[in-house]
Each structure stands twice: as C-alpha cells, then as structure tokens.
Symmetry: C2
Subunit: 226 residues, 2 copies
DNA sequence: ATTGTGGATACTGTATACAATCTGCGGCGG
DNA sequence: CCGCCGCAGATTGTATACAGTATCCACAAT
C-alpha cells in the first residue's frame, strides 16, 4: 500500500472520555483550588444543571471524592466539602512528614534524568510565580511535591501521598495559609539539591524539616481561627 | 411523665442503612476474603440479581472500591479485581514498612488502657485461631494490625494504613501466602510487648522487621508464580 | 485454512422516573 | 408568647429506561 503509515506516537485519537471522569476532575480541581469552602454543600441537581449532565455521573464523581476524603456525605442530606479539625490537620502532617521523607529519600536514590529535569522545572516554575497569585502558587507547589513522589518511582507511595496532599490543601484553604513563608523557598531548594546529589538521608531530613515548618505555621493559624 | 425513659445506649434503633453501603461492605469483604480472585470480573447486572438490588447502588459501591484500589475499571468493559504486579507489591511493602513502623511507634506513645486491652485480645484471638483456617486467620491478622493503628490515635494514618492493608491482602491471596510463617507469632509478640512497654523505638523497629520478613516471603512466592 | 466482515447479543454509560427522607414554615393550641 | 403538629417543597436514594460500545460467532472471500 502506498498510504503513509499512521503516526500513533502520543496521540490518543479522541478516546471516548467518560462524563463522570470529567465531572470528577472538574469538582476535584474546584475543591483543591479553594473555590468551594469547607462546609459548603454540593447539590446534585444544581451541579447537574450547571455542568449540563444528569445526576448519575454527578453522583458517581461525588462518591469518588468522598472516598478521597475531600468531601463528606451524610445520609439523605447530601455532601459537603470536608472541614478538617485541628486534630485531623495535625494527624495529616504527622503522617505527611513520614511519607514525604520517604518519598524524598527514594527519589534521591532512584530518580531518572527525566525526573531530575521535571524537578528542576517544577521548582523553577514555582519560584517564578508572582506573589499574591495564591491559586497558581498552590498548584505549582503541589506540582513540585508531586514531582518528588514521581521521582520516588513507587506507585503505592504516589497514591497515598496524593491523598495526604489533598487533605493538606483543604487545611491550607481553611486556614488561608499559603506558601509565602520566607523559609519555604530555601527549604525547597535544599530538598531538590539533596535529591539531585543522590543523598537520600539528607533529602529525607530536608523534606521532613519542610513539613514540620509548614505544619507549625498552619497549626498556628488554625489555633487563631478557633 | 411516669413513663420510663428510653435507654438509647448502644442501640441504633434500626437506622435506615443505605443499600449502597451494604453492597460496598459486602463486596469489600468478598474481595478481602479472597472469594474473588484477582482478574475476576464483576458484572453489574449479575451482582444486582444476586443481591436483589438495582444497578445504581451496585455501581456506586463499585466506584468506591475502585477508588480504594481493590478493583480496576476499564471504560465500557466493567470492573475486575485488581491484579498486583511484583513491582506494585514491592512498592506497597516499602511504604507499609514506614507506615506500620510509625503506627507502632505512635501506639507505644499514645495508646490508652482500652487500646491495650484491644491489642492483647486481638493477638490472643489470632494465636488461638486454628491452623489451616486461612480466612479466619487473615481476618484476625488484619484485626491485630488494625488494633495497632487504632492505638496510634491518628485518623490520617488509619485511613492510609487501611488502604495499604487492603492492597497487601490482595497480594496475599494472589500468592497464596498466609500467616503460617514460623517467625510471625514471635514478631507479633515483640511488637505488642514494645507497645505495651511504651518503647516507641523498639515498637517501630519490631513492626518494620515484621513487614520486611513478610514482604520477603511474599515476594519469594510472587517470583515463583511468575 | 485464514482472515475479514457483518450482525446479534450482552454489557456498560447516561438519563429519567419514582420513592423516601429531610427541611422549613404556617397554623393551632396551650 | 412559646411550643408542637403537620403539610408542602425540595433533595437524596433507588429503580428503570434508553443509548452507545465491546464481544463473539457465523460466514464469506481470498
């Protein structure tokens, strides 16, 4: 045949994306961006009308978000954005210190050249983001931490770290704590440096310190809100 | 009024339990008990007929189990019991070593007298279970480890440990690795002893060793199956 | 014999209909 | 004025109906 062969590399030829997945992604971003405040209610009919779909995919997306811990469901009373208590926030940070430390250590030991590039790019983008752009900063901060867990090359760790990151995002919005802390940039740099140097112990220590610093800041703000 | 006051302690007066929750609990137990082998398909209509409910609550339960990582969904092709690869199993155990160690350390530091009782009871029940009763042993082993995370008094840790335990349960069924390893009982005893002695470091070390031992066993069996 | 094609079947994805529960308000009685 | 009852509206929970897609097998063409 004389026809040129199809180039399939990198094109997904418009796979039939499911409605419920689209709704899930949308709502997840809305919550993570802080557009819906903790405690706010998500009505099924209202969401359906706003997104132009029926209640069925809406409900399935909400179910998944509940399982993620981003929303809470009460029988016959719908779902709301989860409100983290001070104790839940502290708990999340205790675990996150351990998991982020592990992720950094593994990333130091196992990252590929492509991972290294992704890490450098992610941190550069984060540092280049303009002050006051909280939403952008929050997303880029999340992207940097995701790049670290990506470099750890551990599926279970990625999944669990994703869970924790989402909960922490909720706390941040709740306490209105953003990444403006002066030490943040230096700590990020220290983590990246240790990972690139393949110094697992140093990377773990730097990551744990970063979590502790941020946790203290958030818990302080949480205390003030109470 | 002369009528005697109602005693509400401990009775839930037949609250209208949701169908989807019942289906979720049922299917979760079925998978965790190993009655459905990895790769096996779960048809919605078939489940609906078997349980006597419509597809709607079935789908919502399946959605939650997919999010839990127990099932995998493929677009327009239904859901199957997840098959863990050797790499995924190794990943899960790496993370579990860290989290179980943390849980044991926290439990040593923070457990209440009631937690202590629960721990002792759980281990006793496990040791008393007859050999060969794999399903019972698996459940009791899971209960013991749950008692530890319970003693840690950390909600986020409980949630994440639950996720990992479920994945590990999948691996166990897949490799047909049960708790018969001779060192298991001694290691369990060591963990319990350290926790009750409030020795966090020792508890962490004992828990990590236990995970490593078991992981090695499972990975060995996984290699043989390949 | 093998490959490709067509259609029939079964199943998932989405929408809609029906049932049950919660919520808020107005009226009635104390 | 306060509290309680009860109804009406709205919302969630479940069931069913409809649409789109994958799978399988028969059968024809090479």
């Amino acid at each position: 045949m004389s026809l040129p062969a199809l180039n399939l590399s990198g094109l997904s030829f418009a796979r039939p994306t499911l409605v419920r997945d689209g709704v899930y992604d949308h709502l997840r971003r809305v919550v993570l961006d802080g557009d819906l405040l903790p405690g706010e209610r998500l009505g099924e009919v209202e969401l359906g009308e706003k997104l132009g779909v029926s209640r069925t995919p809406i409900r399935e997306a909400l179910m998944r978000l509940v399982q993620d811990g981003l929303l809470v469901a009460e029988a016959n009373k719908g779902v709301r954005v989860r409100t983290m208590t001070a104790a839940e926030a502290r708990d999340a940070y205790v675990v996150r210190e351990e998991l982020d430390g592990l992720a950094a250590a593994l990333a130091a030991a196992q990252h590929t050249p492509a991972d290294a590039d992704a890490l450098r790019t992610a941190l550069h983008d984060l540092n280049a983001s303009p002050d006051g752009e909280y939403r952008t900063q929050t997303r880029l901060d999340l992207a940097f931490h995701r790049a670290i867990t990506q470099g750890a090359r551990n599926g279970a760790l990625s999944d669990l770290a994703r869970d924790l990151e989402q909960r922490v995002a909720l706390i941040k919005h709740q306490t209105r704590t953003y990444n403006a802390h002066p030490e943040t940039a230096a700590q990020h740099a220290a983590i990246l440096k240790a990972i690139l140097a393949r110094d697992a112990d140093q990377a773990r220590a730097a990551a744990r310190l970063h979590v502790r610093t941020f946790a203290a800041l958030v818990m302080h703000n949480l205390g003030e809100l109470a």
